[in-house]
Symmetry: C2
Subunit: 231 residues, 2 copies
């Protein structure tokens, strides 16, 4: 079966000599020293991909937002907070022949200004926070390097439409969509189900992975990336 | 010495028959299903207080925001996300003869509206988030119940002035200030140092606890609360 085939596949170290760069977890954008803006992400999917890619023989660089997970064995991990810091580490790590798996839930927006001291609440009024766009790490990698880039799209509705349009917008040929409105997969869960879209010339192929444990999903995704990636 | 004295003190179960309600961790205010606003807090100080109060014989209710800590032995824990949900659990838990230790980093503000579907980024423009004030859990407890209320103030500057004015504003007689601008204590650390202010009639006493492990600080704070609390 597929499970046994995949285990056999990984133990043959097919990724030997390759460099995989994986981002995982949320980014955290400081409003002041106490308050912040963030995205939901446990980091489990990205950490599973990093772990399994290392088991398959790749040199793996994991760039991780704040999560409470142990760094997998054999993986080189850089911890960051903001999207800007994540971009910087990815820029340092990516080579032109790397595989880049952008699994982190990067905040699209950050506060325009970060207060250096804790803001004080005054009166009973509301407050307005002005946000500006964060750098787009995946688009940067797709446009400025020759790395093979794989995106993730966490959506709550029209999952496949949004994922396909994100693939176009970022200029990538492979994206993994998951429906985070479901309780049984996605955020904080140990299980996941991905719908993977792969663009080849004018057509887009679609392949479902899971539902299965995030470790199993990671194994099968790694095998799929290895098949699809132009060599 | 103080350490041995405190250990002896706790093992005598001085809080037998008392009900302590402790809040801990951050609150998380959803902007949409993926994005949120939060405060920094590991929950370690509040969990240590809950653990030590239970060891000292109290019935302990812990109302905790999202943290990755194990619930201490013998503690009844309710997990919540938002300040509104935390208020509700505290309202359910607090009796008039309870001790209330408000250690959570409750978000002062929440988004005015929560989008039910993930917001889509459009163009390259910024974004504005309108915030409104959250309910004030500590002030509610101080004004609407006869529980003995202890506050916390995490500050980055003018620590003692802000803490004393927070004590007045909330209508409480005991507050623990810590300076979260320091790297060696506070957020995510296992150590802490508190400056505790206690109002008695027209004077305010000041007592320093620590620097020490959060567990040791919790023990000494519990003994201090037990001394100060009118019986």
């Amino acid at each position: 079966d597929l499970l046994q085939r995949t285990e056999h596949y990984l133990s043959a170290k097919p990724l030997q000599g390759q460099h995989w760069v994986v981002t995982a977890g949320p980014t955290v954008e400081a409003i002041d020293p106490v308050r912040y803006l963030a995205n939901r992400s446990s980091g489990k999917m990205g950490y599973a991909i990093a772990e399994m890619a290392a088991k398959a023989g790749a040199k793996v660089t994991l760039v991780s937002g704040p999560v409470s997970l142990d760094v997998p064995f054999g993986v080189n991990c850089f911890k960051v907070e903001s999207a800007e810091a994540m971009l910087k580490q990815v820029q340092d790590a990516l080579d032109n022949d790397s595989v880049f798996v952008s699994c982190a839930a990067v905040a699209d927006y950050k506060p325009k200004t970060m207060a250096t001291e804790k803001m004080k609440k005054s009166g009973s009024e509301g407050l307005t926070i002005e946000l500006s766009q964060n750098p787009d790490i995946l688009r940067w990698a797709a446009q400025e390097t020759n790395a093979f880039c794989v995106g993730f799209a966490a959506e709550t509705q029209n999952v496949s439409d949004y994922a396909k349009s994100k693939m176009e917008r970022k200029g990538i040929t492979m994206i993994c969509a998951n429906d985070v409105s479901r309780d049984d997969i996605g955020f904080s869960c140990d299980h996941n189900e991905l719908l993977v879209f792969i663009r080849e010339h004018d057509t887009t192929k679609e392949q479902r992975i899971g539902p299965a444990s995030k470790i199993k999903v990671a194994e099968q995704l790694i095998e799929l990336i290895h098949q699809v990636r132009p060599s």
